[in-house]
């Protein structure tokens, strides 16, 4: 199947953005979160620099609570493409016993994702970091620039963003400051799946429906991915035909009941989807405008 013109425009825009970063920054990195958007971003990076390899490493901030299938997919992907993969874990948070079940999603995300990311960026001195966020995901993301300035403390100042005109991106920063770059800004969830279909891009099998052991908790279906998820009184593990629209830490990510087992069927399911993909993300609903708050503190 040939790529449709609309997707060709999005593809070219993303490639253009990536080449700007490679040309203008000394030490860029690509945040690789293993999800479908990361898969598309990585595929675009290969296209942007072909026949060279992408001139930057991948960085995965591991909370140690990702689905096991994600970690396996991550390692296989880095090996298949011959790319350097950095994995960073906030060891201090781990030692404090921070986890999504007992600590709550808010503290867990703060320590194991946001803090960990900042530590990793500081450790390696990255001056630019690609993220796979899209503007259609969430309201504060809809407001963010493609080249999004971060202070030396990794903070985002949403009220004072640099004007960003045409395809001319201001890449100038002082020492310690950095830019988060979002090459998929103008893609929608449907675009991402259509592109995965058209380009035959591998994604984690968790996106496809399968019988999986789940437990219903607070109205959400949680996959029992390992023994760390303890059942509460009255809870029972059931085998259900489920898949995931978005992937994160498994105790914080809700499955949906679905029979879509191929990319075509996922696209078909999206015709009739009446909820947004982030609905399955328990961390977003913690407090209103919580994404903006997290982003200001340095979250991607």
């Amino acid at each position: 199947m040939s790529v449709i013109p609309h997707l060709r425009r999005l593809e070219a825009e993303s490639i253009h953005i990536m080449r700007e970063v490679a040309a203008e920054f000394a030490n860029p990195v690509m945040l690789y979160s293993i999800g479908k958007d990361s898969s598309v971003m990585l595929h675009l990076a290969q296209k942007a620099f072909y026949p060279s390899k992408p001139p930057f490493p991948l960085l995965h901030v591991d909370t140690t609570w990702k689905f096991r299938e994600m970690i396996a997919f991550r390692d296989a992907t880095a090996q298949r493409l011959g790319l350097k993969l950095l994995v960073y874990i906030n060891e201090e948070g781990l030692a404090r016993g921070i986890n999504p079940i007992d600590s709550g999603s808010l503290l867990h995300t703060q320590v194991m994702k946001t803090e960990a990311l900042k530590q990793a960026l500081d450790k390696y001195g990255f001056d630019a970091a690609f993220g796979g966020a899209r503007r259609d995901e969430e309201k504060s993301r809809a407001k963010e620039r493609v080249f999004s300035f971060r202070s030396a403390a990794h903070a985002w100042d949403p009220k004072n963003q640099r004007p960003e005109l045409w395809r001319v991106y201001n890449t100038r920063i002082a020492k310690g400051e950095s830019i988060r770059v979002f090459p998929l800004s103008n893609w929608t969830e449907l675009d991402v799946w259509q592109y995965i279909l058209a380009e035959n891009i591998p994604v984690v099998p968790l996106y496809f429906a399968e019988k999986r052991p789940v437990v219903e908790r607070d109205g959400t279906l949680i996959l029992v991915d390992d023994e760390r998820l303890k059942l509460r009184p009255g809870e029972a593990v059931e085998e259900r035909m489920v898949r995931f629209r978005t992937l994160g830490c498994y105790p914080l990510t809700g499955a949906i009941e679905s029979s879509a087992a191929t990319v075509e069927e996922i696209v078909a399911e999206m015709f009739t989807a009446r909820t947004s993909e982030r609905q399955g993300r328990l961390i977003d609903s913690d407090e209103r405008a919580s994404m903006e708050k997290k982003k200001r503190e340095g979250y991607f």
């Binding site: 060709r8 253009h16 296209k47 005109l165 201001n170 405008a289």
Partner: protein
């Protein structure tokens, strides 16, 4: 489902994409209109809708109804204040088209964010409140979208329900706008009476406006022809990145911004003017025989040509222009006003070069489109300027090609994007006034004097001891048989710079003239001593960049302000403190100390002769005097 999916994907392939923005004054209902479009075209997910209903009760301004503006005003500050601060991007599709909407703020103070949204749009939906009619901000936004090259505008006369669906109100507003917009070069202008809150004439024609014979807003958006035929213009590819995986492959990666290119085509490298032929068009999906505007590719050429980032590959028969001087329209985007003469960084396509504004010809009164005389541009003002670049760049006029004619200006110290410009034309003056090649040059002149020319640039507060030190250094050099000249701030202001005052703009021009004069003396082979407060880093950097490598020696006379005030040799601090002198450095005008001066001298508790000797020693060590 299988066939339904196939036909769906087939339909997707035929869809075109329209990028548009909504703009207009505060409270005209821009965000509400977008919310309405998303809601009525059933593009709201249930969880978004639930959050919207929750937020409407908490923050809403629409009584018991859903407040659609809360869908797009995503920042906490926006929801609390009920205004739009920054541009938000929204996505929706109908059976005919895909849309990317930039919802831009109406407040004048956020005009730069509005320009951000407009720069990538093909059409503007300009909202007017039917009760208020055409306002200053309506005119401002119409002028800016026109300036940014948008050729299609829809005037949405909103809140038509609040004027009783009155035909005459609608027609008066449409006529008033027509009179103003007739001069703005739009190819299509359509006026639609709408109520974003109730949905009149948004998706479907409203029974409340039987007198309106036109199409509803969405139908106009679906059908307007915005094709700018970029692929039919001359081939341009600004080189972003040189692709060198191994010694045998040297590709030039970039996005084709106009025209098309085939294997075998002759191309020229601009500005260098060298030419070659395309041998391959490389992509990961296989080589292409041909590529066109909008595609991101990698080209291989037949010859070993020196090409780097910032160069533009052009059709050999239709090259981009080259100049180091332009006339341009400029939108100023920083709190600190424009300073003619100050050096900024200019970024155009993939090239970056130091640039300064050499003339501010006039600024635009957006309300009347009149041209007004101006000395500076303040935040959100639009002016017509001449720019001078440190090196020539390839360009096309903005009206021909947005990518080849649209640039931003960046402040060299804050790194902020301070302006956005649109090139009108290159100035022939630069192209035709070539350097006169002279037989006797700087090297010959300085050899005769047995010295290497240099600029000793003394900077520091008034009363810090610059002139004292410079005088001793010059006397020492003269006694040693060296050829020197001393430019002193106070003295120069009696002659060359007699017409300049002490505003920031005049200080910048003051330094520019002195630096150019020093440059001529250096060319004459002299060791030039410049004793100027020169409080701004950017001007000292500009002076440094005028000189040859190693010729500029910055000497920071680091005397604390309290000491200078106590010394006050000319009684100036006393006058500044009583207000008799304005803009006095250290009192009510800043001094930015150097970060990388070649020589730093302290004068408190040191003998001036000893300090001056350090400078002479530096000159000997670095081979200026043998």
């Amino acid at each position: 489902m299988e066939t339904a999916l196939k036909s769906y994907l087939a339909a997707q392939e035929k869809k075109s994409l329209l990028r548009f923005l909504t703009c207009g004054s505060v409270d005209d209902g821009k965000s509400t209109l977008i919310g309405r479009l998303l809601y009525d075209s059933k593009l709201l997910f249930e969880d978004h809708l639930a959050a919207l209903e929750r937020d409407s009760r908490k923050f809403g301004t629409a009584g018991d109804d859903i407040d659609f503006a809360l869908l797009v005003d995503g920042l906490e500050a926006e929801r609390e204040q009920g205004i739009t601060i920054d541009v938000a991007y929204r996505f929706f599709a109908t059976d005919k088209r895909k849309f990317i909407v930039a919802d831009t703020p109406g407040h004048e103070q956020y005009t730069r964010n509005m320009a951000t949204g407009a720069s990538n749009s093909e059409l503007a939906v300009l909202l007017v409140d039917a009760r208020k009619g055409v306002l200053t901000q309506t005119r401002r936004h119409a002028a800016i979208v026109s300036l940014l090259g948008i050729r299609h505008v829809i005037l949405a006369v909103n809140k038509i329900d609040l004027v009783g669906y009155s035909q005459s109100v609608f027609e008066n507003i449409a006529d008033e706008f027509d009179d103003f917009a007739a001069h703005l070069g739009f190819l299509s202008r359509v006026a639609v009476p709408v109520s974003a809150r109730f949905g009149d004439n948004v998706i479907a024609k409203s029974p409340n406006t039987p007198w309106y014979g036109g199409a509803p807003l969405l139908a106009v958006l679906e059908t307007v022809d915005v094709d700018s035929a970029l692929a039919d213009k001359p081939f341009r590819l600004p080189v972003q990145w040189v692709n060198r995986p191994d010694l045998d492959f040297r590709g030039f990666s970039g996005t084709i911004v106009s025209g098309r290119v085939k294997v075998g085509d002759a191309v020229a490298v601009v500005p260098s003017g060298r030419s070659s032929r395309v041998t391959r068009i490389v992509t990961m999906d296989g080589d292409l025989a041909e590529a066109q505007a909008g595609e991101a590719v990698t080209l291989l050429l037949a010859d070993e040509v020196d090409i780097s980032r910032g160069d533009v590959l052009c059709a050999a028969g239709a090259r981009a222009e080259v100049s180091d001087q332009f006339a341009a329209q400029l939108i100023w985007m920083a709190e600190e006003g424009l300073l003619p003469g100050r050096q900024y960084l200019l970024k155009l396509a993939s090239a970056t070069a130091p640039a300064q504004i050499t003339a501010l010809k006039h600024k635009l009164d957006v309300n009347t489109l009149d041209r007004l005389a101006a000395k500076t541009l303040r935040l959100n003002e639009i002016g017509n300027v001449n720019l001078s670049l440190a090196r020539p760049l390839a360009f096309d006029p903005y009206t021909e090609n947005r990518d080849m004619g649209g640039f931003v200006l960046i402040d060299r110290f804050t790194n902020a994007t301070v302006g956005a410009g649109m090139i009108e034309f290159g100035l022939r003056r630069a192209t035709n006034v070539h350097w006169q090649a002279l037989d006797v040059n700087k090297a010959a002149r300085s050899a005769l004097k047995h010295q290497k020319p240099a600029v000793l640039w003394f900077t520091g507060l008034s009363g810090s001891g610059k002139s004292t030190l410079a005088n001793i250094v010059e006397r020492t050099l003269l006694a040693d048989g060296r050829h020197t000249y001393l430019l002193d701030g106070d003295n120069v202001r009696h002659g060359l710079n007699r017409d300049l005052g002490f505003t920031d703009a005049d200080r910048v021009e003051n330094i520019r003239r002195v630096a150019e004069t020093a440059k001529l003396f250096v060319d004459a082979g002299l060791i030039v001593l410049v004793s100027f407060i020169s409080p701004f880093r950017s001007e000292r950097r500009m002076a440094r960049e005028l000189m040859g490598e190693g010729e500029f020696v910055e000497i920071f006379v680091d005397t604390p302000l309290e000491v200078c005030i106590a010394r006050d040799p000319k009684g100036l601090y006393q006058k500044a403190r009583t207000g008799a002198i304005k803009n006095f450095t250290g009192i009510d005008s800043p001094y930015e100390p150097p970060e990388h001066a070649e020589i730093v001298l302290e004068t408190v508790g040191f003998d001036p002769a000893t300090e001056a000797a350090k400078i002479v020693a530096y000159l000997a060590q670095h081979g200026f005097i043998a």
